[in-house]
Symmetry: C2
Subunit: 160 residues, 2 copies
DNA sequence: GTCATTTAGATATAGAGTATAACCAAATCG
DNA sequence: CGATTTGGTTATACTCTATATCTAAATGAC
């Protein structure tokens, strides 16, 4: 069979779906935020984890896993990475001898603050075309989608 | 060091960023759309590819790769999967003996239509909380973020 | 027309990211 | 107390995506 190729390729049908454009938008975000975090030797996940640890000092690993929707086995290497970089310490819990309390170091608190500023700059770049109210509305809409996923069949929980 | 764990874990700081909530929203979407596509033996990527092939019959593999921001090597197995399922045919290009023209089969066109309906239902589930104008605005905002990523440093291109 | 360069498709491979199963030790509960 | 659950861990595997390299054919310079 012989067929000539079209010159202009479209993705019209897919564009009707929020998920398709969201994936493309998120890819752009990921590329940019990854670059923004590189100077701090942080990845997206480790930055998220550090941020939650700084905001909730003393939390347990399982709580961190729950908060970021990460499976517990994957938390171990992640936290170890933060410990290795001197950003977080694994303290023993005073109430449960099995548990660890994650505490940020001074360096961790400082790095988190500076990384957060870098990510904020990144975020401004990516949403530069949006008014500040539009940006707020966007986040609210995303939250409502996140919530919509919570009540569905297999409860596909994962991520960070 | 002994530290008691906080009872309620927050992610306030991360919530200021569109990217964080977008990742969580997209995870929810992915879980649901993956389930929606399972009956058709399609994955997100293969569905996207099939949709573009149906919409642009005769396109070359490299055009498909460009359209979906997939690296060319990854297109090969992807298209083969569609061929194996009888949804697409690799036709020889009439103008370039190196090139392939991707053409949907009748089954491919039909499956694409039914899968598109299933994905549309999924999309409605996920955006149920949004008014139809809000949903349109959401997609426009996501497009603007996607565009914002196009003009940046390393031009982090990837995805599907 | 011939040679250098580019393009289309393909192969092999590697690295993230994330998921599952199974294990030990301590806590909890009947 | 014994059974069950929970916190952390290890090992492992699967998906997704990226990079390097190869060939055959097309294009472009002269």
């Amino acid at each position: 069979m012989m067929v000539a190729a079209p010159t202009r390729i479209t993705d019209q049908s897919l564009r009707q779906f929020a998920g398709y454009t969201m994936k493309r938008a998120f890819n752009a975000i990921r590329a940019d935020v990854t670059a923004a975090l590189a100077p701090f030797e942080l990845r997206m996940v480790t930055f998220s984890a550090l941020s939650v640890i700084v905001e909730n000092p003393g939390l347990r690993q399982s709580q961190l896993a729950d908060a970021l929707l990460i499976e517990r086995p994957n938390i171990v290497a992640l936290v170890d990475e933060l410990v290795r970089h001197g950003l977080v310490e694994k303290a023993k819990s005073s109430t449960d001898r099995r548990a660890l309390s994650l505490v940020p170091t001074l360096l961790g608190v400082d790095s988190c603050a500076r990384a957060t500023a870098a990510v904020a700059a990144h975020d401004r770049r990516m949403t530069a075309a949006l008014s500040s109210t539009a940006r707020t509305e966007l986040i609210e809409m995303l939250k409502s989608i996140e919530r919509a996923g919570e009540g569905l069949q297999n409860d596909g929980v994962t991520t960070a």
